[in-house]
Structure formats: C-alpha cells, structure tokens
C-alpha cells in the first residue's frame, strides 16, 4: 500500500500501475458511450462493460506472456454486440431506455460463455461462443455460399472443418420480459446457477434461467396506497453460498436479509440491518445521502458491503444493529450537499466492490478519483483515473483532497473537483490485483506492480 504519507510500500503494500485505457480520447462524450456497468467473469479472463447505448463490449485477457512477465496479459476486445434497443411502450406512453443497468456472468459450464444483461425492463441471457473452424467442401454450395447447379455435380465429397479466423458470436438465448413495472436496478445469479433474481424499485422476482414466460414475485413492497410510499428497493443480491438467502437494500438505508425457505413471499425479512441515524448530522438531505446505492456480499459470504452517498459500510451478517466498519469516501462533500442537490450529483449511484480475498474494498468518487480501503491495515488510498498517467507500468500517485484550510502542494481543494467526472462503476478481478475503473466513457485497467 502506498499509505497516506506516500512513499513506496513494502511487504503487503500494493502499488497500483496504469495498464490500459479503453474508449474514445476526445472530451466530447457521446451519450451512448457512457459506461453504465462493468463486470469481470468468474475467472477474470473476461471483462464486460455495458453502456447507455445498449451495447455490451467484452474484453479478454491475453494469455500471460511468459517472456515478458513484467505484467499480466492485456485486455483486448473480444466481442461487441447490441444487447438492448430503445423501446417504446405505447400503452403507457413511456420510452424504455436501452441503457444496460447490470451485467452478471454465469459460471462457465462449457465452451461458451453466458451472461445476463438488463435494461430497465428486460433481462436477456446471451451466449458468447467462439467459432474458429468452418465446414468446407460442400457438394451443393460454392465456397461463397452460392448454390451450384446440381446437374454439374459429378462427384461427392464429405465436407470437413478447416480453421478460420476466430469469430466470436453473441446470440440471445433467453429474453425475460414483461415482469417489471418499475425500473430494474439489480440482477443476481443464485449459487444454484439455475435461478436468478431481478429487482426493481418495488418488487423482486425470481426466475429460472430456462423459463422465460414465468417468474415468481418474492418481494413486493408496493404499498396498497401509493401515497404511503416511503422507500424503494435500490439493490438486491443473492448470497454467494446459501441459495436460499438474498438481501435487498432500500432508499432508507436499511438492508433486509430474506430466506426463501420461510415463505413464498419474502415480504417479512429474516434480518434487518440498520444503523441509527446520527441526529447531529440531520439535514434537508439526510434521506438522500442515506439511500443505499449498492450492496455486495463478500466472497466468503460472511460480510456484506453497502454504499451510500458518503460512505462505505461493512456489515457482519450476524450483527444487525450497526456495521462493523465504516469508511468515509468523501466526507468533505457533506457541507456541499446543497450544491450537489442542485446539480443532481447527490443522486449519483456509486457502486463498490471487494477484492478476491475480501481484504480490500473499492469505490468511486468525483474528479475521476477512486478510493480503496484496506480492512486489515485500516489504510486508505485515493487514486485518479486519468490519461495523464497513461504510460504502462506508471505507478499511480496517491491523491488528496483538501477539505478546508490551507491547501498543501499537490492537494486538490474541494471546490476545484470536477463533479462531471465521476467514477460510479468499478470492478476487481476475482483472483488477481487487477481492477477495472470506468470513468464517464473510458475504461481504465490498473494492475499492481509486478517486479
């Protein structure tokens, strides 16, 4: 770790280096190119991104170059496809955005890869498969596909497979539609690898991956009288090991853990995780900043992490009344909430992620900063995703925001932060110290320094 004091770390300290950046260079960001989700697959070999234009781009890591072992393999484009298109619901006169809200990978069972991608209303199961051979030597067709005149065929041969340039094909295998009235915010694949859940603002549905015309509603918090609405579901996730357990977070800052064995409709939680609000921090915006934007189980399943506007909290599943750890992401924004409300930044939904060993958590911030918190050493670091550091293996310099008072050299004052440059989506390789950090329209890949 490069701690607050700077300087090279030894031992377990990680030095993060720039590896790659993907995406357009120019500052003029096309709306469709805005990255809306980032996800490694279970092996870490594949990295998927979704954008506002409904496209999915999958990067594949090169096999490690044994000769040049100074770095791990690079990620290169593997497949690009249009997952969702804009739709118009004529009945309700509503436009349905094509923006990809979430991508979740299925564990690999055969040669093909499968992932779920979702927009506001429809979830799709995509099969990504490689084709590196093709049959040649048809009797009735020419090589270019034209049909031969059968009368000219004098001999017969058996077509054989010959190698071809690798082609990666994505095809939609299932379309799970028409199950959500409100906007889908989460999908999560169960550890049984047969079912998954999808959550919108008020309901959570359980699906079977093979069955598209039916889904079970397992949580419904829609009040009988909508004027009594006080909270919405903001995220949901299955437990990584217990296939009967899932959690969902709310806009009120609570997390409910539900057990599907208890009843068909899990409106009554098994556990309720909530930290009492600090009354001295009460403001106009208390409700907004306590809304949880992301919830993620640790790989072990023992903990879960939540992200609200200003902090990251780690919860022990065995303790409901308060988190076991709280990390301030950008507390200096607390005095700026008014402005952030005006410019809508206060509604930004930051995600968070665990590293493979659950020892470090990461989340994004503004000015293209992202933060990591080491749970063991209690040290944290702020790094920046910027093209200025775009030489491979350049060690990233820690950044510091000066909240008030005298600004030291190399510090950035709160008022000069660029709130248009926000890092909402980050992902950590399941096994290695490789992270993918999405700025507005660029994807940065950083690795730890390998000596």
């Amino acid at each position: 770790w490069v701690g607050r004091g700077g300087g090279a770390g030894g031992g377990n300290d990680i030095q993060w280096c720039f590896s790659q950046v993907k995406g357009a260079v120019d500052d003029d960001v096309a709306e469709a190119d805005i990255i809306s989700t980032v996800e490694f697959n279970h092996s870490g070999e594949l990295l998927a991104t979704g954008d506002k234009g409904g496209r999915v781009v999958i990067f594949q890591q090169e096999q490690e170059n044994k000769i040049q072992s100074h770095s791990r393999g690079e990620y290169n484009v593997y497949s690009t496809f249009q997952s969702h298109e804009p739709e118009f619901d004529y009945l309700k006169s509503l436009e349905i955005e094509e923006k990809i809200n979430k991508i979740r990978w299925l564990p690999q069972k055969n040669a093909a890869q499968f992932l779920l991608s979702t927009n506001d209303k429809t979830i799709k199961l995509w099969k990504i498969s490689e084709r590196d051979k093709r049959p040649e030597g048809y009797n009735l067709k020419e090589e270019d596909g034209r049909y031969r005149d059968p009368t000219t065929v004098t001999t017969l041969r058996v077509p054989v497979f010959r190698p071809m340039d690798l082609m990666v094909e994505a095809s939609p295998r299932r379309i799970f539609a028409n199950a959500h009235t409100y906007h889908i915010n989460s999908i999560s694949i169960n550890s049984d690898y047969e079912t998954y859940l999808s959550a919108d603002d008020l309901r959570i549905n359980l699906w079977h991956l093979e069955i598209t015309d039916r889904s079970f509603n397992i949580v419904d918090i829609k009040p009988a009288n909508m004027e009594e609405l006080t909270e919405v579901i903001t995220a949901a996730e299955f437990h990584p090991n217990s296939c009967n357990t899932f959690v969902y977070s709310s806009s009120k800052g609570t997390i409910r853990l539900c057990d599907m064995r208890a009843s068909a409709l899990c409106d009554r939680h098994s556990k309720l995780f909530e930290e009492p609000e600090d009354p001295s921090n009460r403001s106009f915006f208390s409700e907004i900043i306590s809304s949880i934007s992301d919830v993620k189980f640790s790989h072990s399943g023992r903990y879960m992490m939540t992200r609200d506007y200003l902090s990251v909290k780690i919860w022990d599943l065995n303790m409901e009344n308060r988190p076991v750890e709280t990390y301030q992401v950008h507390e200096y924004l607390r005095s700026k909430l008014c402005s952030l409300y005006e410019n809508d930044c206060i509604f930004d939904k930051f995600e968070c992620c665990w590293n493979g060993s659950d020892s470090v958590v990461m989340t994004g911030s503004y000015n293209n900063f992202f933060r990591m918190f080491d749970r063991n050493t209690k040290r944290d670091i702020t790094l920046e995703a910027s093209r200025e550091n775009n030489k491979p293996r350049t060690v990233l310099k820690p950044r510091k925001v000066c909240a008030s008072g005298k600004r030291k050299k190399d510090e950035i004052s709160v008022d000069s932060l660029d709130f248009n440059k926000k890092i909402l989506h980050t992902a950590w390789h399941p096994k290695e110290n490789i992270i993918a950090v999405a700025t507005t329209n660029n994807l940065y890949i950083f690795q730890d320094k390998v000596n």
Binding site: L91, K92, S93, L94, E95, I96, E97, K99, D120, T181, Y182, H183, N185, D201, L202, K222, N225, M226, E227, E228, L229, T230, E231, V232, T234, S251, P276, E277, P279, N281, R282, S283, F284, F285, S286, E287, I288, S291, S335, L337, C338, S339, Y341, E342, D344, F347
Partner: protein, 402 residues
Amino acid sequence: MECALDAQSLISISLRKIHSSRTQRGGIKLHKNLLVSYVLRNARQLYLSERYAELYRRQQQQQQQQPPHHQHQHLAYAAPGMPASAADFGPLQLGGGGDAEAREPAARHQLHQLHQLHLQQQLHQHQHPAPRGCAAAAAAGAPAGGAGALSELPGCAALQPPHGAPHRGQPLEPLQPGPAPLPLPPPAPAALCPRDPRAPAACSAPSAPPGAAPPAAAASPPASPAPASSPGFYRGAYPTPSDFGLHCSSQTTVLDLDTHVVTTVENGYLHQDCCASAHCPCCGQGAPGPGLASAAGCKRKYYPGQEEEEDDEEDAGELGAEPPGGAPFAPCKRARFEDFCPDSSPDASNISNLISIFGSGFSGLVSRQPDSSEQPPPLNGQLCAKQALASLGAWTRAIVAF
C-alpha cells in the same frame, strides 16, 4: 447543517426537478422522485416553522391589544433539525393521525387538534363563521435552552373532534416545553393533509390565524430559532397549491403503471367548489368566513407582503388560466404572476399540478367511498371536484406517475 439555500429555494428547486422528471427519457424515476419529495418535505417543515414563528410574534403583539376570546393551541416549534423519528412519515403521506398515535400524547393531541381543525375548515366552511386558527402540528425540536425552542401559535376555537359535534372553545393543553425532543410528525404534512375520509374537497393549508385569536396565557416564551424572513409577512401555511394551483390549473393526466389506466382529473373544478361559497381566497372576495373562506380572508390580509416569499409557490399557482370562480380574482393574481413568473404558464400549470399533488396533502385521496382505484373517475368535465379528488385511484396514480 450548512445550506446556502433557504427552504423556499429548495422547494422551488425540488419542484422543478419533479417537473422535469416527467419529460425525462426512460420514464419517471420513482426512486429519485421519492428522494426529492423528502427534500421537499423537509424544506416545507422548515418553511412552515418559520412562518409559525412569525405568526406567533404577530399574535403576541395582537394579544396585548385584544382580550382573548378564543382558546388557542400551543405548538412546539420545529427547529430546522428535526429528529429522524419525525421522518417516519413518508413524504407523500402528509398527515396520518394513525401514525401519530404511536407518539407522545401531547403530540397526538396536537395532531388530533390539527386534524380537527382541517376537518372543520373543509367540512364546515359554510356553517361556522368563527375564524380559524392556524394549528399546524408541531414538530419536535430540540429545545434551545432557556429561550425555548417552543413558540406558540394561536389556535382556533373551532377545533373539534373529527366525528363529533362541534364544540367551540375547547381548551387545548399547552405543550410544555421539555428537554427532550418530541417525536412529532412533521408539521407541514400534518398541517396540510388531514387524512380524514370526510375531507375530500380541496385541501387548503391551514389558514392564517385570524387576527383575533390570541394565545392564551401560560405560554412558554417564544423563541424563534428560524431566521427571520420578511417580518411583516405572514402566510398562514405552506404555500397552498390547493389554493392557487388547483383553482387555476386545468387538467392533470395521470397513469397507473400497474393497471395502465389513464385518468384525467379536472382540477379547475376544485376552484369552483371552493368558490361556491363566494369566499374563495383567490377570488379576492369575502370577509373572513369559515373554513377556506376564513383562511382566505386571513390570508388576504397578508397578501401585499407576500410577494417576495412566494416566487416558487406562485409558479405553482400561476397558470394564466382564468379561475372559473370569476373575474375579481384575476387582477390580483396576475400582478403576482407577472412579478415572479413571467415565463411559461404551461410550466407553471404543470408545477401547480405537481404542487397540488404534494401540497394538497392528499386529503382528497382519502375517500369515503370504497377504494375505487380500479375505476377511473368519470371524465365528465362537469365532474364535481370533490368526487374527482375523492377517487383514491386518480391521485394514487398521480403519485405513481412520478
């Protein structure tokens, strides 16, 4: 909490966000609008507290001049920082006597009285000429030491139990200043939305206290922690969208995302409904009279001083549309409109629709009738406003549409 904006600006900004969310791509974002409505509620609480503090000061002056002939209601003054428990109300759920039951007896009592007051205002407007007080439910505030965080507001003599016969002059228990904050429901919601099944009509905010409703003795010394706003100005309640917006707006088209029913409610008829009594506030007529009328009368008293405070609410109310109630109102209103909203009246009408939904307190949502959410209200243009609003479904859908 530092905030560079005052409550009114926040209200204005919030309403603008809600309004613009209707046209955003991808449909209405329920989550964001819910959060914005929380800010709206919080800002309104502060706004109202400031107003009531103002009111109290006024009443103190008048009390010294007139003998009291009305009982009054002591109310806790809501400090800007409200305890979290008070936020248990949904921002859309303005009022809620039922929830108040869980709270302290004094709070319950106050809320009860508040509901009585509103009920009175709306149901007995033609029967009770006595002036109404402004009985906003108090929110708990941390008492500020000796100065006290409590101020009093004159109550209304006509506080009555919701379902009983009126009995005037019911003495109200003063709220004793105490060291602990009271977990009261937010004043704004309670003040605006008596969830009473018999109050389907236009829900107006609590009226300005009539000049002749002085507080009783044994009041705790008032302290106004709120920053002083226009000193000479009191506006009895939350800028009443229902007073203005509903009167002057045209239609609200709402849709239920679940049943896919689209309904159109003619808001304008609320105005007719109110104006029927010829004491419509916006008609600029009438001496202080009962209920709305008295509210109107009381409010009118303060109109001249209101301009600088009302830009956002005026947005809400300023539609440019002639209120069906008639001509006399128009000049007065138009002047304000020009002062503050020279821009598009279509926007204003939309905003007024929105405000009417939030500010009306949804009293119109509580229907005497069985839940008719499955049946859209008849779209007959001459539909009685009461029925239109009484139809729970229409407004539920309105919220859903957000």
